[in-house]
């Protein structure tokens, strides 16, 4: 967890970069992309399970953020606002595509499938297959959550945002965000117990 001072300094840097972009310095946006690229791609990858698709969605999220940069209210970190855009796009993409799990018989990481397997788990392809299926089930369960629970759960666990950041980004009270997270986790557990239909 980053310290509060570091977070404040980083937020100040982000605000300065955003101001520069709005003042016409288009290249200042590169700094924002370099700062947030890994986090955004990671979030999308966790939702989609595919790195290439995650990069496409992350790129789209950056373009949308650039386009609507003037609407960022500056409450909380820029990354949380950007993560909200990316998570929403990724969830929409995940819901639109067919749930297909591509299994690599060699056990290596597949980057051309919907859900590439990680490196063989202890060299056991069966274990890798089971984990891939479990991950797909969890992703499907998250994608099927109702809003606002889905957004809060995805921002907390996939984008790794604190609940205060989520509250700032969504404009909801912190207590409400906590309630949404609690209900979202409870519904997710129920969906996993029942077995999420693919």
């Amino acid at each position: 967890m980053a310290s509060r001072d570091m977070t404040g300094a980083a937020e100040a840097d982000e605000r300065a970069m955003v101001r520069a972009v709005l003042d016409g310095d288009r290249n200042a946006f590169r700094g924002l992309v370099e700062l947030e690229a890994a986090s955004v791609v990671r979030s999308c990858s966790r939702i989609l399970g595919d790195l290439h698709e995650a990069e496409d969605v992350a790129q789209e999220a950056f373009v949308i953020a650039f386009r609507s940069l003037a609407t960022w209210r500056g409450e909380g970190p820029f990354g949380a606002w950007l993560a909200r855009i990316a998570v929403r796009l990724a969830v929409r993409r995940a819901a639109a595509r067919r749930a297909v799990t591509w299994l690599d018989p060699g056990g290596g990481t597949r980057e051309d499938g919907a859900a590439g397997l990680p490196a063989a788990v202890g060299g056991d392809p069966v274990a890798a297959t089971l984990r891939a299926e479990r991950d797909t089930t969890v992703r499907s369960a998250v994608a099927r959550l109702d809003e606002p629970y889905r957004e809060v759960v995805a921002l907390r666990f996939f984008a790794e945002r604190s609940l205060q950041e989520i509250a700032d980004a969504t404009g909801r009270p912190l207590g409400t965000v906590k309630t949404h997270l609690h209900r979202g986790l409870a519904r997710l557990r129920a969906a996993l117990d029942e077995g999420v239909p693919r």
Binding site: M1, S68, F157, A159, G175, H182
Partner: protein, 246 residues
């Protein structure tokens, strides 16, 4: 940049609007959180080396963001949803964009005001048109002829008698009861209405005493003109009498 990368802890939910009830409830939440964290650890995460360049190449094709970015969105995709989003964004920038350039906030405020004025104008025109189509203005058209007197409050009272005379128009026929009294003398109640003919209503109004069956309903018939203030509805009694005094 993330402020909380740690594993989910139960105390994160403390202070929720809806408190967690019981250990079982918390255990279910923790179980779901662990499933999500397991997925998180196994997902591929590192973007390609050229990712930033790709993003910047895509950004190069976009118009420069400015205070009017919300309007640019509408220009690009003129749909109701994007229009509503632009108004929302402009509102947020105008009233919550503390620290943003004053020019940007002023432009956003201007956009919101223009949309508000246009919306109010269109709504007013729609309401006016709908009222006209429903004939609400037609129903009130007789009234506008009277407002001229209503401008003078002193004239108002003088207008009230104009409504009253319509029932009082029946007194005109009250002159005729003298004819109805004649049947009393003849002792032929059925003949008296027949003799009076059309004025049979007039005996009801005044000459009730003798012609009991016909008289009582006609006294109730006399209020008809008063019920319908317009003389045209009951031309016989009030049409002649109402227009006269009026």
């Amino acid at each position: 940049m993330t402020a909380d990368r740690g594993r989910f802890r139960s105390d994160e939910l403390s202070g929720a609007d809806e408190p967690v009830v019981g250990d079982a409830d918390m255990a279910r939440a923790l179980s779901a959180a662990r499933a999500l964290e397991g997925l998180t650890e196994r997902s591929p995460s590192d973007p390609g080396a050229d990712f930033v360049d790709r993003v910047m190449a895509a950004v190069e094709r976009e118009p420069a963001p400015s205070a009017t970015a919300a309007l640019a969105v509408v220009r690009g995709r003129p749909r109701l949803g994007t229009f509503a989003a632009s108004v929302r964004a402009a509102w947020a920038l105008a009233f919550a964009g503390v620290g943003r350039p004053i020019g940007a906030r002023a432009a956003a405020l201007g956009y919101v005001l223009v949309v508000a004025v246009l919306g109010a104008s269109l709504t007013g025109a729609a309401v006016y048109g709908a009222a006209g189509a429903l004939g609400l203005f037609d129903d009130r058209s007789p009234v506008p002829s009277e407002p001229a007197p209503t401008v003078d409050p002193s004239v108002g009272p003088t207008l009230e008698p104009s409504v009253m005379p319509t029932p009082s128009g029946s007194p005109g026929p009250t002159v005729e009861p003298s004819a109805t009294t004649e049947p009393d003398k003849t002792g032929a109640p059925s003949a008296s209405p027949g003799a009076s003919g059309a004025p049979s209503a007039s005996p009801g109004a005044s000459g009730a005493p003798t012609s009991d069956p016909s008289g009582t309903p006609e006294t109730s018939a006399s209020p008809d003109p008063s019920d319908s203030p317009e003389p045209s509805d009951t031309p016989d009694p009030s049409g002649s009498g109402g227009s006269g005094p009026g």
